[in-house]
């Protein structure tokens, strides 16, 4: 399998990269980890005329806390998320999700920015970002702008990024005390796209009352889905089995999965309920731990 020919550029700075995007417009594609794009090119589903390799641009792969915000550079590899001490301390969910993304070699290449910018509801980070209420930073000719995660995904392989913009950073609010997060997906085998996946972040106050709930779903909807009714069902409540069951039920009703070899719609809806329930329990467990 061999891609069609293309022009390759490897700019050393963000400005250069943006200038190239302006120059080539819609015929250019950004290469970060490349593990979605290159297989598509090899299968000749995609034949972009220009590849802008942003891997040589420095400063896009840091993980750090800035005040009340966690900042993750868009070029941060999945493997670096997996092993980051900062994330282990504050966001257990990254340990959950990275282990389930593809495989170790792919995680050495794949980037969090690429995972989001691909605009595929089957990817795992979109749901996690929804749960964590992240903001995506896009940098273009006019500088950087912030895009709330709920406004980022527009359609299949479609995001709010303009053709001359590059996703440069992900910003996540630092969790309040009493916060826990968890992610799991059902997969047919290691590295598969999710049959269904659920990401949950919860904050519980001293009385066990839920003061924040973020719930995102993977691969059960045309777009990455925020389970809004589920979140609302938890807020202000102590998380009894009944409350959790209600939240799980809403998620299974509100998603819109497609049948495929992984299962039919009924199964996927049921799995959404199971996963949301389990991840609420797991996140709540971590919140009080």
């Amino acid at each position: 399998m061999i891609a069609a020919d293309f022009n390759y550029e490897a700019p050393a700075t963000l400005d250069e990269a943006i200038a190239l995007l302006q120059k080539y417009g819609d015929e250019a594609k950004i290469l970060s980890g490349g593990h979605s794009l290159i297989p598509m090119m090899k299968l000749r589903f995609a034949s972009p005329e220009h590849i802008i390799d942003i891997n040589n641009i420095p400063g896009l792969s840091d993980i750090g806390i800035d005040g009340q915000t966690l900042k993750i550079g868009a070029l941060t590899r999945e493997a670096d998320l997996e092993h980051s001490a900062v994330l282990k301390e504050h966001f257990a969910i990254f340990g959950d999700v990275t282990k389930l993304i593809a495989d170790p070699q792919v995680r050495n290449m794949g980037t969090i920015g690429g995972n989001l910018a691909h605009g595929d509801a089957a990817n795992d980070h979109p749901a996690v970002m929804i749960a964590l209420n992240a903001t995506v930073v896009a940098t273009g000719p006019d500088g950087a702008r912030s895009i709330p995660i709920d406004e980022f995904f527009l359609g299949f392989y479609m995001t709010a990024l303009q053709p001359d913009e590059i996703l440069t950073e992900i910003q996540i609010p630092m969790p309040a005390a009493g916060t826990g997060s968890a992610y799991h997906k059902l997969e047919r085998k290691v590295g598969d796209y999710a049959t269904a996946g659920a990401a949950v972040q919860l904050t519980l106050d001293g009385n066990g009352v839920c003061t924040y709930a973020g719930i995102g779903l993977t691969n059960v909807n045309p777009l990455p889905l925020r389970a809004e009714r589920s979140e609302a069902a938890l807020l202000g409540k102590t998380l009894t089995d009944e409350v959790i069951a209600e939240a799980a039920q809403y998620a299974s009703e509100d998603c819109s999965p497609s049948a495929d070899l992984r299962g039919d719609e009924e199964y996927k809806r049921a799995m959404v309920a199971v996963l949301v329930k389990r991840m609420i329990h797991k996140a709540a467990g971590r919140a009080v731990a």
């Binding site: 995609a46 034949s47 359609g155 299949f156 392989y157 479609m158 495929d260």
Partner: protein, 180 residues
């Protein structure tokens, strides 16, 4: 592989206008993302092209659209579209049935579509067909409503198939749209 979609939507305009627009290929074509008409074969058959782009993926289809049924009295239509991938990698077929009913001066549209994809996209893109079809259909509905709104506003631009762009940035999935 075949995907079946059923959509019901309401249009603010009177049924006769909706019917006239929906059954006129030259009017409807620019509601279909990325579509253009290239030739009218006869009263019921039209040739066209649909160019689609979603993310890094581009596809082009040369298609033939046939009005199998245009029952003005009962406001029922059946449309068949057959598209061939312009690179020879497969084909797409769609059969659409639409029924219009009048509700308080507005028009209710019930449409069912059977979309059948053959070839490379069915092999590798099965995961997307349903989502993409839905997305494209929703886009069509929104374009259609917008067009009708403009028509009644009197602000509608005269549209001709020839003037339309061959590709759309917004549409995806493809093949199905050629049928309009």
């Amino acid at each position: 592989m075949t995907t079946n979609l059923t959509k019901t939507f309401e249009v603010e305009q009177p049924i006769d206008l909706v019917w006239a627009t929906l059954t006129d290929p030259t009017k409807i074509v620019d509601c279909v993302p990325g579509a253009s008409l290239t030739e009218q074969v006869d009263a019921d058959n039209y040739k066209g092209y649909v160019g689609l782009k979603f993310g890094p993926v581009k596809a082009g289809y040369d298609g033939l659209v046939t009005f199998v049924q245009r029952d003005a009295e009962n406001k029922k239509m059946t449309l068949k579209g057959l598209g061939l991938d312009s690179k020879g990698k497969g084909s797409a077929e769609m059969l659409m049935n639409a029924t219009l009913t009048e509700v308080d001066g507005k028009t209710n549209v019930v449409a069912t579509m059977d979309i059948t994809i053959t070839g490379m996209l069915a092999q590798f893109g099965a995961r997307l067909i349903n989502d993409v079809s839905n997305q494209v259909f929703n886009q069509f509905v929104s374009n259609f409503k917008e067009k009708l709104a403009k028509t009644t506003d009197g602000t509608a631009a005269e549209t001709t198939a020839e003037g339309e762009t061959e590709e759309s940035n917004s549409g995806i999935g493809g093949f199905l749209k050629k049928l309009f």
